[in-house]
Amino acid sequence: MIAPAFRVLRPVSGWSVAGALILAAALLAGVSLGETPFGFVMVLKVLANNLWGAGYSVDPIDAGILWSYRLPRTLVAAACGAGLALSGVVLQALVRNALADPYLLGVSAGAGTGAVAVTVMGLGAGMIGMSAGAFAGAALSFALVVLLARAAGGGSAQLVLAGIAGSQLFNALTSFLITKSANAEQARGIMYWLLGNLSGVRWPDVTLAVPAAGGGLVICLCLVRAMDAFAFGTSSAASLGIAVRRVQIALIGATTLMTAAMVSLVGSIGFVGLVIPHAMRFLVGPRHGRLVPASALAGAVFLIGADITSRVLIPGQVVPIGVVTALVGAPGFALILIRNRRRV
């Protein structure tokens, strides 16, 4: 029992230590950098004070900013980045199309509509209500997109086209809901939030984002071999012993949950689900045993970086994080496309 467990862990452990260190460094950077930068010592002191009451003397206002705003915001950024990148990996494996990601397949748009519907119509209460609405919207839009793709012949190009139609429909529905039901103040807030925004993030959001990303990661890690087996299509996966339906449901469920949680917290952030998995395929190869953890880590680090950039880019103003990811993501994606082409 112990020997095989050890065999599983041995090759993994070196990399996971390295990954944890990179993530810790990124988190530390995310907490200390910003409009008012804090020294690392100060950050560590505040963390020690709050985690085990170390009792270092620090400026209470700075400590408050650091602990109540910066840290939850950075943690949520990390969870969102990991969740969105994982969603991209999963959808690309299942759909066997390099373009699949929650943004393009309309999942994010549906989640946005659900969250906005809950907000403007006053259904449910607070964060949980919004996340539930986002989940319902995400699941509904994904189901619609899949049905439309089936009706159109069922290929993966059809799925992407159906996803584009779905995104347009749900984005229009969102705008319609806003114009119809929201007052000017609400409308401005929602529009800003839809572009992707981490400014409002507090500790309660962390308790949704981190378990969602962590849970999604665990599900993906359990199914890495199944995702590999999808490389030659579903019937090839079935002939390799994969329970295709069950795996699809588990993976799509995990993706929808992660996307819904992230969209309800920070709005829809594009490009992470598309660019990060491609960049990681380039670095660690197409096998999911490495691709899944690498993408989760890179997504987390990337979004922390984007959040820092969004805070320091224009002094005195926060650029929506969705704008930053697209500004970096679009050229990055172009680069990947060109380099991939040359390799083939």
């Binding site: 095989p4 590999d228 030659f232 002939s239 012993g241 994969i242």
Partner: protein, 255 residues
């Protein structure tokens, strides 16, 4: 070992496979022949459980396929599809390693024995030298050989091959058929080359979804049947080297 009881499947309002009853014996090489669209691939998919039977049922060693898990089936039956492609930048070795999937679990990760099985499968189809090549850079025949290596790495008791000699040059066609005949496994394969089909232990002839004949090749491939099912006129010749029977085909219109 594998029994089909009156199985049928329809699609698009047409009977694609119609009332096929078949008993595959342990260790035999069973060939399925028939014109394009006669339902060979569909029959193989039904027999391997990849398609659920609309009518009838298939049993493997006495157990119905529908009662077995995909993993159980995959440990016993390997299937090489007619056309399976990927856009992932997998290497040849990666693709063959997929064959070990049904044997791996959280407690039994990919180990040295799996590596050895994969290397052996690569050697069997003469792809060892190309094991690091990317999928996209392979020729059609090389891809076909990798698929076969993947099926071999699955270490099945029953190998199902849908037109395995497709895309292969004559050397690799002959080596593949020799390899298959020497493997200690049961083989069910769809074939188009009737001369190659003559080397099977038994043949099934499909025509418009029905199994119209089943038995030893010499009894099944009669001139009348070749004319009725394949719409060709066949003359047979004897190879002076080993006295084996060969077919030569002509268009019916020319006779």
């Amino acid at each position: 070992m594998l029994q089909a009881h009156d199985i049928g499947w329809s699609a698009g309002g047409r009977r694609i496979v119609d009332g096929v009853t078949l008993d595959i014996l342990p260790g035999e090489t069973f060939g399925v022949v028939g014109p394009n669209g006669s339902g060979k691939s569909s029959l193989l998919r039904l027999l391997s459980g990849l398609l659920p039977c609309a009518e009838g049922h298939v049993s493997l060693d006495g157990q119905r396929l529908t009662h077995l898990s995909r993993r159980d089936i995959a440990q016993r039956i390997a299937f090489v599809e007619q056309m399976a492609d990927t856009s992932e930048a997998l290497s040849v070795r990666d693709a063959v390693e997929l064959g070990r999937t049904p044997w791996l679990s959280a407690l039994k990760p990919f180990g040295a024995d799996d590596t050895a099985i994969v290397s052996e499968a690569l050697a069997a189809v003469e792809m060892t030298r190309m094991q690091d090549r990317r999928w996209a850079t392979l020729s059609g025949g090389e891809r076909q050989r990798v698929h076969i290596a993947r099926a071999l790495a699955q270490r099945p008791q029953l190998l199902m091959l849908d037109e395995p000699t497709n895309h292969l040059d004559i050397h690799h066609q002959l080596t593949l058929l020799r390899l298959i005949s020497r493997l200690p496994v049961t083989v069910v394969m769809a074939l188009h080359d009737l001369n190659q089909a003559m080397a099977c232990d038994r043949l099934g002839v499909m025509d418009a979804g029905r199994l119209v004949a089943c038995g030893p090749p010499g009894e099944v491939l009669t001139p009348e049947r070749l004319a009725a099912v394949f719409r060709v006129h066949a003359t047979s010749l004897r190879d002076p080297a080993d006295n084996a029977l060969l077919f030569r085909f002509h268009c019916l219109e020319d006779c």
